[in-house]
Assembly symmetry: C2
Homo-oligomer: 345 residues x 2
């Protein structure tokens, strides 16, 4: 132990917890007791409760070479909230655990928590617990999100039926393109030792990667328009993989139309610069955290009217398989490892 004032070893686990939780004010009436006891206490009597958790490890889920810690904290919360919204529920509490090696200063951990607190603020959730501990190497983050919804609103992956419309919010492929650009700049930096790269043309895709948002607005919009999805999932692994999850859970097949894939101009431009096929990226690039859902055919008018929603295709009988329909009418089988097989077509 050296005498540096900012080392974690100096203030200890309890000191660190106090430092990180001193400004927490609970916002939800269901948060009865937050940080500071053996467990948080929640009052969730009027609703069904949904719970989800994600574990993020350094070098696998994030690279601290190009990920600002504040962004990382924000994103770690958002990806969990996204799972709650994907149940058509409203998140109300989170718990955050971190394991850090001794090389981390308390200032860096506070940066991480700045992002965590910002996400809590933006999404109206309370940080009610967690764990703060050591690791031999690297940073590990575990976030738990808890939310609730009336029983009739909870939307499972398994509720889709034949002929239901397959819909998606926003656009696809941005987060993956952002990651490719960051990885490219990292390689350039490591080999040439160049200065800050000019990525100003690509601020959208970089933000999609570094600071994604969860689609609370879509959940609210669907409720406001009286649309109850029959099934829903968030896009963390890629559209192709997620639609197959819905099909498997619902016992359906599907048709997605390639020319319907929502791809932003900047994503096309970035794909071109990196010699990648934008449609492939939109199908298989992960981490967009858009909502993929199905609605009964009867809701066609309602969903068509929504700018933020694209109808991608429809559910089929399971015997008809899962296919992407190309502009020429040919069919390409969807697979969750689809990236390579699709490229080879």
């Amino acid at each position: 132990m050296s005498g540096k004032t900012n080392e974690i070893t100096k203030i200890g686990e309890f000191g660190l917890i106090e430092l990180l939780t001193r400004n927490i004010k609970l916002k939800n009436s269901s948060s009865e007791k937050g940080v500071g006891d053996d467990a948080a206490v929640l009052d969730l009597r009027q609703m069904k409760t949904v719970v989800t958790t994600d574990l993020l490890t350094e070098g696998i889920h994030f690279d601290l070479m190009y990920t600002p810690l504040k962004h990382l904290g924000y994103k770690a919360v958002v990806v969990n909230l996204s799972d709650v919204y994907a149940m058509n529920a409203i998140p109300t509490q989170i718990l955050v655990s971190i394991a850090v090696s001794s090389k981390f200063t308390t200032e860096r951990i506070e940066e991480l928590y700045d992002g965590i607190h910002l996400a809590c603020e933006r999404y109206g959730v309370d940080l009610v617990g967690g764990d703060t501990t050591s690791s031999l190497t690297g940073l590990t983050l575990s976030v738990v999100a808890i939310g609730s919804a009336p029983a009739e609103k909870i939307t499972y992956r398994s509720g889709a039926r034949e002929n239901d419309l397959i819909c998606v919010s926003g656009d696809l492929g941005g987060a993956f393109m952002g990651l490719q650009l960051l990885e490219r700049e990292k390689k350039i930096f490591q080999t040439a030792g160049a200065g800050q790269p000019d990525l100003s043309d690509f601020s959208y895709v970089l933000e999609r990667q570094l600071k994604p948002e969860a689609r609370r607005d879509i959940v609210n919009l669907l409720a406001a328009k009286g649309i109850q999805p029959s099934s829903m999932i968030d896009i963390s692994d890629g559209l192709s993989s997620e639609v197959l999850h819905l099909c498997k859970a619902s016992g359906t097949g599907c048709r997605l139309y390639a020319d319907r894939l929502p791809i932003a101009d900047e994503i096309r431009k970035a794909a071109e610069e990196l010699h990648l096929e934008a449609a492939t990226i939109a199908l298989n690039g992960g981490e967009d955290y858009e909502l993929l859902f199905t609605v009964p055919l009867a809701d066609f008018e309602k969903v068509s009217a929504l700018d933020e929603i694209t109808i991608l295709g429809h559910m089929e009988n399971t015997s008809n398989g899962n296919y992407l329909v190309m502009p020429d009418g040919s069919l390409v089988e969807l697979t969750s490892m689809g990236w390579n097989s699709f490229v080879e077509e």
Copy 2:
């Protein structure tokens, strides 16, 4: 990637999840939907909900050189259930996340989950979710435990009052002694390369370290005897540290009597063999997962009659400080870093 059939890379994350969750049967009526959607769905309407989480990292919280994976899985669940019991609540669900490096085979992960499932079975909790992911180095485990209790039964750290009796279940120091023995044998093995050590004289302290139990029986016993603790915490960091948590949260001081410390014969024997002071270990050794709680003085008769409970002392006015009373009547200040200062007295 090699062609070995047991490598995780071969079956992938989704394959691994299927493998690990194929035998799960939900036991609690509050577990509406478990593994397999974006989030678990729980129906907790009749109760207050308590939630807690712990993050365990290889090399910090466990050493795979002497920790069987099945034991590790069991313990990872138990330490979280212990936090739920420490709220005087009954655990009903857990979520388990693991991050493993590619050196881990699926067989080894199944061993870990055998322990997780065994703990679920023993304690009647449902595994309803989690995350399965990669790490660059080592094994990381994150467990979330959810439980519930009627509002009037929830027991916080903050409820103790002056003159309340300080009580503890079971005996203290065993888990720490077990750890010392395992560490000693590891060093002997590393230097001398000896065979299996004979630790049969110390099966109790080894089990306290490797396969602790959470005190569900004590929570049930207190309920059966009509004893509502005024405050409660589980002993993960050591008696001295935990009693100070109760005092700080409750705004009280305390007196613990050194000659009341419950120390099993085997713990004394192990301490002697390792030239350690048993009372010091009982005060400061962690991981016993016993319940430390306070009751009003009026409950003296009731708690005195319980074999599994020891009355250690009482709460004082906060101005009287926090002290251990030695057999000769002298006072030793309790500190959460008490190990060294106490030894030096």
